[in-house]
């Protein structure tokens, strides 16, 4: 985690292969080895991005997709976290809920798409519902497991030193479960984008996924590839943010 102290070579080296691929791709497009109908050149994709940004279209689609992702993530994440917390801490909640949640977890949430469309139509609700559902389980499992696997000796020590209830939870149990909870969050971010892409591609009238599907009808290869690139950037961005949180919350661990 010592990225602050990396030398210039260490900062440049990881980007060498992506740069090489990009340069090769551009060169092959120029020479015509990659036909435009199969894959447009990087420069064409940049042009498409500039054009769509200027018209404001790209911004609209992006903000709608981001909003859906965030809303679904918050709903599913908070629910999963709270359920994991209660089932991890309270024996009664554990017995009452855990088996049912484990059964639901085994249904692939994307299999529910036809049902969800019939329930909620193709509006915002169906997409947010699917993202929330996809995010809920990884966060739940990791929170639950994290709390269950906090070192019993540390809990005993905390009790012997006079901690109980809220204090015991915030000083010993929650920090002890934190690294597992963050693993759940990072994993669920991946699920969040995947679910959103599928949901937007199948049924939507706005968003990045819709932009790609719409471009397909008009054979706009550059816009299709642009959408894919934007998804990749979003995914990378959320991972960087999650890592940043991890570095802050787990700085005792390095």
């Amino acid at each position: 985690m010592n990225w602050r102290t990396k030398g210039p070579a260490e900062q440049i080296l990881p980007w060498f292969i992506p740069f090489l691929v990009l340069a090769g791709w551009q060169y092959l497009s120029w020479t015509g080895a990659i036909p435009e109908r199969i894959l447009p050149a990087p420069t064409q994709i940049v042009e498409a991005a500039i054009e769509l940004t200027a018209s404001g279209e790209l911004y609209d689609h992006m903000s709608i997709s981001l909003g859906r992702a965030l809303a679904g993530f918050l709903i599913g994440g908070i629910l999963g976290f709270l359920l994991g917390l209660f089932n991890g801490v309270f024996r009664f909640a554990d017995l009452f809920f855990d088996t049912s949640i484990q059964m639901l977890r085994n249904i692939p949430h994307l299999a529910l798409i036809p049902l969800v469309i019939l329930w909620f139509g193709i509006g915002e609700t169906s997409k947010i519902f699917l993202v929330a559902l996809g995010v809920l389980f990884p966060v739940y499992i990791n929170t639950y497991h994290g709390i269950k696997s906090v070192d019993k000796n540390l809990i005993e020590m905390g009790k012997a030193y006079g901690l109980k209830g809220k204090e015991l939870f915030f000083h010993v149990i929650l920090p002890g479960a934190m690294s597992s909870i963050l693993v759940g969050i990072r994993f669920s971010l991946g699920v969040m984008w995947l679910t959103l892409i599928v949901a937007e591609t199948i049924s939507a009238q706005t968003g990045i996924g819709y932009m790609a599907m719409n471009a397909r009808e008009f054979m706009q290869m550059d816009v299709i590839v642009l959408s894919i690139v934007i998804y990749a950037l979003f995914g990378k961005l959320s991972d960087v943010i999650a890592r940043c949180f991890e570095g802050k919350l787990l700085k005792w661990n390095n």
């Binding site: 000796n153 540390l154 005993e156 020590m157 905390g158 009790k159 012997a160 030193y161 006079g162 901690l163 204090e167 000083h171 010993v172 920090p175 002890g176 934190m178 787990l250 700085k251 005792w252 661990n253 390095n254």
Partner: protein, 266 residues
Amino acid sequence: MNTEDYEEIHVSIHDIEKSFDEREVLKGLNLQISQGEFVAVVGKSGCGKSTLLRIIAGLEDFNQGSVELNRNPLSGLNKKARMMFQDGRLLPWKRVIDNVCLGLGMASRQKAIQTLEQVGLKERIHDYPSKLSGGQKQRVALARALVHDPSLLLLDEPLGALDALTRLEMQDLIESLWKNRNFTAILVTHDVEEAVAISDRVVLMDNGKISLNQPIHLSRPRQRTDPVFSMYTEEILAHITNRKSKNNYSMVLNQDPESLLNTINN
């Protein structure tokens, strides 16, 4: 730290029985510990010495018998006692100072810093435990126990995992803090030499009972090179291994301190 800050404490254990499932660990054990005494409990591993300590701490319940602190039966956690564990049990996500302040308000921060100074770790107070050596971690654990001003300090093999040199250093530190602060201490250890070096009385546990109660009449600071020191260790080791000691020292060692001194000098 003044002596009068500490409440007097007398620990009295009567006919304690404890079994885990079918296995009887303590079988009617009796032990009296007086105010300010440093008692070392030794015995083979699995003899129940840690269980005894955990019962005194109130961390473990028992099937029969009673534990009394100043004639009051102990129920639940022993609030007068603080325990130091073999594995330290520092919270890895808290800095040294916050580990020591655990369970205490911000008001005791100053006191925590003083206590850390006493164990020689003042300049490490903002480090995380992962940056400390094994000995330093146990110093933090010691400070964390002492900052509560316990009248009874329970030490569950706290030096077991340390290297020989660090262990000697820690023994001296614990002894000097005990002398200055006048608390009562019970040390569970498997190291007989350590027990003889630090305690007023060595108690040997065997088969769920106390099988030997050996006061150590050596003046402090103790010299390990002292011949009487090795007489004590040999005598206790002979009891642990159930071997007849080649030289039977028990007659000599159990005299009253003055005639013991005379014997040694002659």
